[in-house]
Amino acid sequence: MTEEHRIHWREDFPIGQEEDQYVTRREFTRFLALASGAVLIGNGYFVLRRKQQSEQAAEPVEIAGAASLQPGRALLFYYPTPSDPALLIRLQSGQYVAYRQRCTHLSCPVLYSEERNRLECPCHNGMFDAATGQVLAGPPPRPLPRIALHVEEGRVLATGVIGS
């Protein structure tokens, strides 16, 4: 290779390998810092939801139509926020129980099965006991979060969420 060729090569690729590596690492680090900020915002979302839920859960909410619910039937309601579906179930014994409707596996809505007296998740066949919310079968890792109820003068009030 002649000296002249060498000069042309240098003009076409003026950045050395070390410098190139340095710049790519620096830029990637900046990108990771951006991702770090995004993850922090994601964590902040849960703090906001917590605040929102605890504010709304402070107020007992009456479940409309609960008084006329027959034993062995279930009723959909929303608690603690209008975007949190929950199921009120009247057991054969006449006792009321309520759970959040979101499956603890991958958040599919669970459905009450009257004939088997359990809550079933259609997504991956998760099953929960209607009386306790405990997992009976399938992939859900935790019991269904329970909703605390207060019954007075035929009215059923939701008073809080009991974590699993």
Partner: protein
């Protein structure tokens, strides 16, 4: 005609410094993802007691990341003034 940059050792040092910062930021980000996972799991289980501690720990990691970025910026400046 010289084919290499005038101060290869200095550049190599800078690259090594950037690599160290990169690894540190990467570890912090993995830690934050783990914290986010914990917060999400707890949220799904209607257990809200972990939301604030995980957020604070994540904020601490983010602050360390910003500090690392500052170190990277000073490495950059140093390199420019040293040229």
């Amino acid at each position: 005609m010289r084919l290499r940059s005038p101060r290869p050792d200095r550049m190599q040092q800078k690259t090594e410094g950037a690599s160290a910062v990169l690894i540190m930021v990467l570890i912090l980000l993995l830690l934050q993802l783990w914290l986010l996972n914990i917060a999400m799991e707890a949220f799904m289980a209607a257990n809200n007691s972990l939301a604030v501690p995980t957020f604070l720990a994540s904020a601490f990691c983010f602050a360390l990341t910003l500090y690392a970025l500052k170190a990277l910026a000073s490495l950059d400046k140093e390199g420019k003034s040293g040229r």
